[in-house]
């Protein structure tokens, strides 16, 4: 599987935000999008996830062996935005259960996922009772309970403490090493660059061009 982005242009209410982006991600590769506030990270992620229309260009997901893109690519993605997409009135378990069933392809159990994000045993708490960082961690657990090859995550580590950041970096590495792809917008480093250098590309939107430690398919 391969995600190919060709000549992508994004705009917000008529204003061009980024233009002519070209890159591609193979299985096991990650793209880290950086840039100052308002540089268009979230806009790019939303265009890739199909939540905003590109003003030009295309996002293609190409299955190995096939020639044409799978359509629509966003059905193969998990999207985690600035919001957590949790219902505060429901318990943590009910929330995760819903997302597991709704997204299909269940992967691991709810309690197992909660252990992985460092919150074992909170299944029965209503989501309203969690602290900001705990909520964020539950919404990360959402990515784990059902399988999608591509994770599109927008500042996933906001509100997380140091220990959880490390946990999350490990989760991303696991996902990559199992053949997934990750596109992350972030202000902090994700804490994985050093280990897995080859596979991490970075895109700085302030310069609106692609720079990476390895050569890119362009």
């Amino acid at each position: 599987m391969k995600l190919v982005i060709e000549n992508l242009n994004g705009e917000r209410s008529g204003q061009p935000i980024f233009s002519s982006l070209n890159f591609s991600l193979e299985e096991g590769q990650a793209l880290v999008v950086t840039g100052s506030n308002g540089s268009g990270k979230s806009t790019l992620l939303r265009v890739i996830a199909g939540l905003l229309n590109a003003s030009d260009g295309s996002v293609l997901l190409i299955d190995s062996g096939q020639d044409e893109g799978v359509s629509p690519p966003h059905e193969y993605m998990h999207y985690l935005g600035h919001q957590n997409a949790l219902k505060l009135a429901l318990s943590v378990e009910e929330n995760l259960n819903f997302w597991q069933e709704f997204c299909g392809i269940p992967l691991i159990g709810i309690s197992e996922a909660l252990v992985k994000v460092g919150l074992p045993g909170i299944e029965h708490l209503p989501a309203a009772y969690l602290s900001a960082g705990q909520k964020r961690r539950v919404s990360i657990a959402k990515l784990l309970v059902s399988y999608k090859p591509i994770w599109v995550v927008d500042e996933p580590t906001s509100a997380l403490d140091k220990a959880s950041e490390v946990l999350f970096a490990k989760l991303i590495e696991e996902h990559l090493s199992s053949g997934g792809m990750v596109i992350a917008a972030t202000h902090q480093s994700l804490g994985i660059d050093s280990d897995n250098n080859e596979q991490i590309k970075t895109l700085n939107l302030d310069k609106n061009r692609l720079s990476s430690k390895e050569q890119l398919v362009d």
Partner: protein, 262 residues
């Protein structure tokens, strides 16, 4: 004089002691069966007396409905009064059992109000020729029912016990104005419904063949109410205990994992 004060101090001390849920549960565990036995006995006597009563010259056999209609109505109002006192207790004295009491009483009160409405309607059809009229007594009981349901919905909707307690207590107190309206509506407005004929202290305007079974049934309903209320309070206390155990479990694990992480 002194005797009385020490006694009341003793009572208050005991009352506050009940605030300890464990103590309350212990008391409830023997009080509930005792009350249940008394209730069953009284119900037996009341039903026997009721069914062996003669037919009323005016109302015929439908007077039988009175033996369940009037106690249900009384309990419906008494239950709300209990809740209002509890609401005061919760707001003013902050007695911990008061919130529990309000929340536990609401469904029971709703059930008895429903019975009052239903038996009243079943009595009204033969007596007045219609299931329902919009007279003051009937309407105010209907409003009592709505208030009960609203309180139930509110207490279910707010999960957090402390916030829920505040809202519940206030709304309960606001709704209390309805109780005197129910009680005195028959005197204030000229309506179809029967004015008080039992509770006129000096001389009840009712024959003893009807009065005795009615009073017995009323007593039975009262003990029934308290039995049910105690059971419901016990459930509510356990529910809160479980909730706080779950929360502390979550927190404990959380801090553990945090300290491991560091």
């Amino acid at each position: 004089m002194t005797d009385v004060t020490t006694k009341s101090v003793g009572f208050w001390a005991w009352f506050w002691d009940l605030a300890n849920p464990t103590r309350f549960l212990a008391v409830a565990s023997w009080l509930i069966p005792v009350l249940a036995i008394i209730t069953v006995t009284l119900l037996g006597i009341g039903l026997y007396l009721g069914f062996s009563a003669p037919q009323d010259y005016q109302q015929g056999a439908t007077v039988q409905i009175m033996f369940i209609h009037v106690p249900s109505s009384w309990i419906a109002m008494m239950c709300y009064s209990v809740m209002s006192v509890s609401a005061l207790g919760s707001l003013v004295w902050r007695h911990p059992l008061a919130d529990v009491s309000i929340r536990a009483a609401a469904p029971i009160g709703a059930a008895f109000t429903f019975l009052a409405l239903l038996t009243g309607s079943l009595w009204g059809k033969p007596m007045w020729g219609t299931w329902w009229v919009w007279d003051a007594r009937l309407t105010s009981v209907l409003i009592l029912f709505i208030i009960y349901m609203g309180l139930i919905a509110l207490s279910r909707a707010i999960e957090e016990p402390i916030t829920a307690a505040r809202s519940l207590a206030i709304i309960t107190l606001i709704g209390f104005i309805n109780i005197p309206i129910i009680k005195f509506s028959v005197n204030w407005w000229n309506t179809l419904h029967q004015p008080a004929s039992v509770s006129r202290l000096a001389k009840p305007a009712m024959d003893v063949v009807f009065l005795y079974p009615l009073l017995t049934m009323a007593l039975a309903y009262t003990t029934l109410f308290f039995t049910l209320h105690l059971m419901a309070m016990r459930n509510e206390i356990l529910r809160r205990r479980i909730r706080s155990m779950r929360m502390s479990a979550a927190r404990r694990i959380d801090t553990q994992s945090a300290s491991q992480g560091n």
